[in-house]
Symmetry: C2
Subunit: 319 residues, 2 copies
C-alpha cells in the first residue's frame, strides 16, 4: 500500500498553538483600541462576486487573487483585502448616521509568489471612517494605528505621512498625462523604501523619464523629516498646480489634527509614501517599527473618497 503524504497547498500554513495564542492576544488588543475610539466591529463576507473585486482594481486583479467558477457558473473570488467588502457593505446603506466608524480583523487571500514569512493567506486589521471629508478622520486613523502599536509593544514606531495629490500633482508638472503612466511611476516611488537609489533611477529611466526628470523625481522623493521643519518650506520646493495646493492643504490639516490628538512626535512627513493601490486619492500613511528587524510597513492606509461611488449610489468621503 502506498503511503500518501498529505501536504498543504503552496503558500498556505497552519497556525500552531504557540502562534495562535499570540494572535488571540493581538486581536484582543486591537479590538480594545478600536472600541476605545468608538469603532464598531463587523466582518464582510470572505467570498465575493468577482465583479465586486474587479470594480475596485480592474480585471488585472484576477492574476493576483483566488477566483473560480462555482457549480452554478458564477464567477466568485476570495477577498484580497477588507476595504472592498466594508465599502460595499456601507455604500448601499442609507440608513446609517454618519460618520460611520467601522473596523474588522479578518483573513485575506492573495495569489502572490510565496516568499519568506509571506503566505497566500494572512490576517489584517482594518479601520475605516466614512462620511468625513475633513482631515480629522485621517488624523484619527493615524492616532488609532499608533495606539495599537503602543499597546502591542511596538512603542518605538514612526508614522510616515504624505498626500497622494502631491505626488500626482508633481508627476503632472513633469508632463505625465495618462493614468497608466501615472500608476506605473507611483508604483516605482512606492518601492523606494525597499530599493537603492541606483535601482530606482534605472526603473524611472526605463519608464520613459529623461535623466533630468529622473533627477527631479529623486529630489521630490527625498523630501521628508519632522513636520515642523518640512512643512514651512514645502510649498516653495514644489511646482504650483491645483492638485499640489489641495494636497498641501490636506497634509498640513492632517498634521495639525495629529498634533491636537497628542501624536505629533510619532509622525514624520515623507513624500515617498504614495501607497501602491490606485484608489487612494488624498492623505496616505505607513507606519514603521524602528526597534525590531526591518519588516516593511507595520500598517498603512489613506483616504479613498471615490471608492464608495463605485459600490453605491452616493459619494462618500472615506479614510
Amino acid at each position: 500500500m502506498s503511503e500518501t503524504q498529505f501536504t498543504l497547498p503552496r503558500g498556505m500554513k497552519d497556525i500552531e498553538p504557540e502562534e495562535m495564542i499570540k494572535r488571540i492576544w493581538l486581536a484582543d488588543q486591537i479590538r480594545q483600541v478600536l472600541w476605545s475610539y468608538g469603532f464598531q466591529l463587523l466582518e464582510p463576507s470572505p467570498v465575493e462576486n468577482l465583479e465586486t473585486l474587479e470594480a475596485k482594481s480592474g480585471p488585472g486583479i484576477r492574476d493576483e487573487i483566488y477566483w473560480f467558477k462555482d457549480k452554478a457558473g458564477r464567477n466568485l473570488g476570495l477577498r484580497f483585502d477588507l476595504t472592498v467588502g466594508m465599502t460595499r457593505m456601507i455604500a448601499n446603506r442609507f440608513d446609517l448616521p454618519e460618520p460611520i466608524k467601522i473596523g474588522c480583523i479578518g483573513g485575506v487571500w492573495r495569489y502572490d509568489e510565496p516568499q519568506y514569512a509571506r503566505y497566500r493567506y494572512h490576517t489584517q486589521w482594518d479601520a475605516e471612517v466614512y462620511g468625513v471629508a475633513e482631515p480629522t478622520a485621517d488624523a484619527e486613523i493615524i492616532s488609532l494605528g499608533s495606539d495599537i502599536l503602543d499597546k502591542v509593544g511596538l512603542k518605538d514606531h514612526e508614522v510616515r505621512v504624505s498626500n497622494r495629490k502631491l505626488a500626482e500633482g508633481f508627476l503632472q508638472s513633469l508632463g505625465v498625462r495618462s493614468q497608466e503612466e501615472l500608476e506605473r511611476l507611483l508604483r516605482i516611488i512606492d518601492g523606494m523604501g525597499k530599493k537603492g537609489p541606483e535601482q530606482i533611477e534605472g526603473e524611472l529611466g526605463r519608464a520613459g523619464l529623461s535623466p533630468d526628470k529622473v533627477k527631479r523625481v529623486m529630489g521630490f522623493a527625498d523630501i521628508g523629516g519632522d513636520a515642523d521643519k518640512v512643512l514651512p518650506d514645502l510649498e516653495k520646493k514644489l511646482p504650483k498646480n491645483d492638485l499640489i495646493s489641495k494636497g498641501l492643504q490636506e497634509l498640513s490639516g492632517t498634521i495639525d489634527n495629529v498634533d491636537s490628538l497628542g501624536k505629533r512626535s510619532k509622525v514624520q512627513v515623507d513624500l515617498r509614501i504614495v501607497r501602491g493601490i490606485s484608489y487612494y486619492d488624498g492623505t496616505v500613511f505607513e507606519a514603521y517599527d524602528q526597534a525590531g528587524e526591518d519588516v516593511g510597513a507595520v500598517f498603512g492606509g489613506g483616504r479613498f473618497d471615490k471608492l464608495c461611488r463605485i459600490y453605491g449610489k452616493r459619494d462618500m468621503p472615506a479614510t
Copy 2:
C-alpha cells in the same frame, strides 16, 4: 451610465456590528472553557489540497464543497470542517506527547442549498483529543461542550449520547452488509429527530427494508431516556454480536465517566444519535437546547479512531 448593484454571492452574508459583538463574546467564552480544560488553540489552513478533503469523505464531497483549480492547475478546496485540517496537522507529528488536546474556532464553507438562517459559510468551534482510546476522552468532550453551553447561557440543555457501533451492529443483525447500504440507513436514522415517523418509515421502506425490518429499526431508534433507566435493560433489548457488545461497553464507560465529571444530569441515552458523517466509529453525541426555539443540535461530535490512519503514518484514537 448604468447603475451596477454589487450584491453578495448566493449563500454568503456579511456580519453586521450587532452580530459581530455577540460572536466576539461567544468566541471568548468558548476559548476560556477550552483553556480551562487544558486544550491548546490552533487553526488549520482554510485552503487544502482537494485530495486531503477527499481522503476523509470520498470524491462525493466535491459536490458539497467549494473547490477549484488554482493558476498552477492544482486542485484546491475550502475547508468544510475543522476536523480534517486538525487531524492532518496532528497525524504527521510524532514529536507531541499524548494526549494531544486541541481546539479551534474558525469558518468553514459548504456548497449546501442555502436555507433560512443557513449560509454557505459559518463559524464552528471544535475540540479534539488525540491519543486516548478510553471513554474518559469522550466524557471530557461532552463535559466541555456542556460547560460551554452553560457559560453562554444555554443552561437548559441536554446531551444525547449513543455509540455508532450499536446502530451498525444492529443493522448488521438485520442483514445489512454493504457499506453503501449501511451509510444510507444511518443517514435515515440521523434524520429521525427532524422528521415524523411516517416519513422515516417511508424512507426505510424505499431503502429496501421489509415492513418487519422497518418496524424493528423504528423500535431500535425509540430506545432512549435517562441512563439509569435505559442502560440496565439495554443488552436484553438488542441482538447479540461483537459490535453491539463493544458498543455497549463503550457507551456505559462514557456514561460512568460523565458521571465522575458531575455531568450525569445533563446526559440522556438516545439510540437515534448516529451522526451523518461516515468517519465516526464509536461514542457519538449531540446537544440540544431545551429552552429556546428548535434549531437542531447545538453541538455534536464523536469518536473517529480510524481517521488519523488516513492522514498519517500511525493509528491514533481520537474524539
